[in-house]
Every structure is written in structure tokens, then in C-alpha cells.
Symmetry: D2
Subunit: 138 residues, 4 copies
């Protein structure tokens, strides 16, 4: 976090009114914090599209009774060029496991790995949260 700067912008009074209502409705402390969040969301989405380094968290739901699924999951992750920052495993039931995997790399690489893991036999669901390393958005 660097030094705070003040910038000004022009808004129609009616748009400003709607903005103030949102700030209150969403429970934000003030208008600046609300607009900063809008800018950061935009920047994070742009990083995924423009090939910059991003952070993504992949959630897998799989049936560990399916023969070989754990080995294949590890293998695919190793073959991928994306950097795995952390991986946490949870037992949901006798059969079903949930795993969340935090990855750093290119957006396209992380999406490719998600698709590869999703189609492994035994994997029931794969979903991806698109986040950011925090670079250039703080």
C-alpha cells in the first residue's frame, strides 16, 4: 500500500444519488472504499483476460473410491506449468472428497488445468474462483 492520493471526478447528481444509496445499502464505510472495490474488481478481471500473472483457486469434488483418481490428480497438477501455492483436502463423506487448490500463473494455464482435472473419471465437479495476486490493485 502506497501513499494516498486524492482525485476528483464529475458525476451527474442522479448517478451520485444512486451511488450513495449503494454505499449505504452494501454497508461500506464510505464512497471511496466502494469505488476502490469497483476498480479492483475490474483490474482483476482484466488480468485474467490479458495474460498477466493471476491467482486462482480451484475446487474439486471427487469420489476417491474411483480407482487411480488421486494419483491422476497429482500427476496432472505436476505436469501443469502453473505454480501450486497450497492445497487442502477435506473428507465430505465416506466416498466424497473436496479439495481446494490455490494456483499462481497465467489465466489461460489455470483454466486449461481446471478443464483437464474436471474430466478425470471420478471427478464430479470442478469450479474456479478467479482472483489476483494483489499486484497493481492495492
Amino acid at each position: 500500500m502506497s501513499d494516498l492520493t486524492r482525485v476528483s471526478l464529475s458525476l451527474d447528481q442522479s448517478l451520485l444519488d444512486s451511488l450513495e444509496q449503494q454505499v449505504a445499502k452494501k454497508g461500506y464505510e464510505n464512497r471511496s472504499e466502494f469505488i476502490r472495490d469497483l476498480i479492483r474488481d475490474h483490474l482483476a478481471r482484466d488480468q485474467w483476460l490479458s495474460g498477466e500473472e493471476v491467482l486462482g483457486t480451484l475446487t474439486l469434488i471427487y469420489n476417491h473410491h474411483q480407482r487411480g483418481v488421486s494419483e491422476k490428480l497429482v500427476e496432472e497438477q505436476h505436469h501443469s506449468g502453473e505454480h501450486i501455492l497450497a492445497s487442502t483436502h477435506v473428507h465430505l463423506s465416506h466416498e466424497i472428497c473436496a479439495e481446494m487448490i490455490m494456483l499462481r500463473g497465467s489465466g489461460s494455464g489455470i483454466i486449461k488445468l481446471t478443464n483437464a482435472l474436471k474430466q478425470l473419471r471420478g471427478v464430479l465437479h470442478a469450479s474456479l474462483a478467479m482472483s489476483t495476486t494483489g499486484k497493481d490493485i492495492s
Copy 2:
């Protein structure tokens, strides 16, 4: 469009730098116009979630050789409480038609109609653009 007001906000210098890069990259005239678009996008999404009156455009792709599909499409639209503002029909091929339908109403009502039309026999695809009546965002 009402009177222009100036408001100021505080940003970290590094977030401001990233913002300026986006303004240039996306070809916006200035920073104010860029931030206004972020605010309007947020407000439009919020209107769909909070039950306010919204505008949506539904695109249907269907095979008009399927017996009765046109009649059923008209019938479903009439039964829906949403207000149809305009509807335009395009012949894509000997068999396939595209229709775009602009609706005004509640977000949930428009989504319900989309789902009802989608499952008619002969309808191949239905997609919805979530927009706004412009109220409170200009």
C-alpha cells in the same frame, strides 16, 4: 441527465496508476467516464437482484418447421406479465429463425419467461442480456 457534480475520492498511488493504465488501454476519454461506467454496471446488476424494474433482451434461436412453435412462443409471451417493448425476427436459414425480444419488468419475471421459452420443443437456444431502463443510472 442532471447537473454535473464534482466529488473527490482517495486512492493509493499504485491503484491510481493501474486505473490510469486501464483508462488509456480501453480507449476512454477520461477517468471520470471510466469510473461512471463501473458504477453504472454495478447499479444495473444490483437492479436485477433487488427486484427493481429492469430491461432485458432475450434472444431465441428456433426451428420454425417444428409444428406449433411460433404459436407457443407468442402464447407464452402473452401469458407472461412482463411488458414486451419490441420484438424483431430474422431468418437465418431455410429452417432456423432468430428472434430478439426486448422486455421491461422484474428481473425474476424475465428470467422465468426465458426459461419457459427455452424448453419449448423447436427452440434450440435462449440467451438473455441483462440491461437497465436507464433509471437511476444516468
Copy 3:
């Protein structure tokens, strides 16, 4: 629409039960129609990602009192290489217009045009419905 073929697939009994519940809940006539819709949705999304010819409907909300906005809208549409199939204009209020524009072309070209139109001064909102020409999905 070509000849109907019968194909079979294997499902766990519990997944089949959940499927049957969805078919009933969503009001589909039968299981085949439900699965066909899932396949078509997948194919339409894939066409947008893989550069095939697609159909998209762009909805613009704009303030026509903003000087020159109509001319710029027409100009941008002419400069774009995408083929405009139809365009319908609706007057929402004294100031606000809604326009829906059906386009045929590449997914990336249609997205690029959407972004260009969105940032014109006077344009309050732009949203895109991603659809298909019906080719290969009927």
C-alpha cells in the same frame, strides 16, 4: 433438423434420479429434450470460445441528448467487420433510448464492438447475449 437417432448412456442410479427430478421441476416434456438442451448450451458456449461464427445480440441504453452519440453508434457499427442482421430502436423516456442489435460474426469481433460502443459518451449501458446461428446444434 435431420433424422432422429437413439443413443444410450450409462448413469449411476442416483444421478439418474436427480436428473429425473430436474426434468420434472423445469417442466420439460421428457429427458431427451432436457439433455439436448444441455448439449446445445455447451456447444453454443464452445463456439464463442473457439472462433466459429456465432450470433450475438447487443443491447445499448443511451441518452440521445448527448451530442453526436447516434452518429458515432452508426459509425462504429459500420467500421466493425461483423455483419448486422437487424437493429431495433425503442424510446424508453424523453431522454433514454434502448437499442438491440443482432450481429453475426466471430465471438471476439462482437465482444470488441460491444466494448467500443460501451465507452461512447452518452452510452449508459451495454450488454451482450451470446447465442448461436443454430448451425451444428440442431
Copy 4:
């Protein structure tokens, strides 16, 4: 995983051809596995909309130098009625932390918690992966 059942469905030959191309292109072992994944994706989305118990993974990026942010993060998580299954913390840089939090609960409750955490001062980004507990989709 229960007993496998065979079901049959009717498809137009052209839709079947497109389906077969997708199965090959995406690297699936066979057509059944591909269709099962389409059904599961649909069921998981439906669970989020219909208030059933779901699993979600929330990714937070925050600046831990912001005073009190860690305490507030823990506090908000405790106040939420959703059940936290696991939480993993990663140090991205001197200032920036990433945290992934696996939650079980209602879709609306998890979305509400995501929004509450997102607006804490010091939190730069919050994103949510919408997954499933595996119930009714295996």
C-alpha cells in the same frame, strides 16, 4: 456411487455429430462421461439457486498491514451461520495474504458472507467458486 443404469435418448444425427466432436476435442473417454458432466454442472448450479446445501470456496486477497483486518475476518466468519470446513493461508508478498476458505451451507448465506468480507478495509479482492457437496450428483 450406486449401480450403473443404461438409459437411452433420441438426438438428431447432426446434434450427435457435434456432440461426438466435443467429446473428442475435450479429451473425454466417452460420450457418457461427457453427458454426466453436463448433468452434474446443471445440478450444481440448480442447488445454488434452490436453497439446498452447497459447498463454496471463498478466496480473499488482503493486506495484513491494515490494522485489525485479520481479527475482523475471523469475527465475520464466526458470526456467519455457515459451516467452515477448512481455511488455508498463503503469504504472497511482504504485505499481501491470500486465504481460501471452504464453506458448507446455503448458497445465499455463503454469498452474504462473501460480500461482508469483501468490504472489510484491507480486503482487496474476494471471489467465490460455487461447488457442491457431491450429494445427488454422483
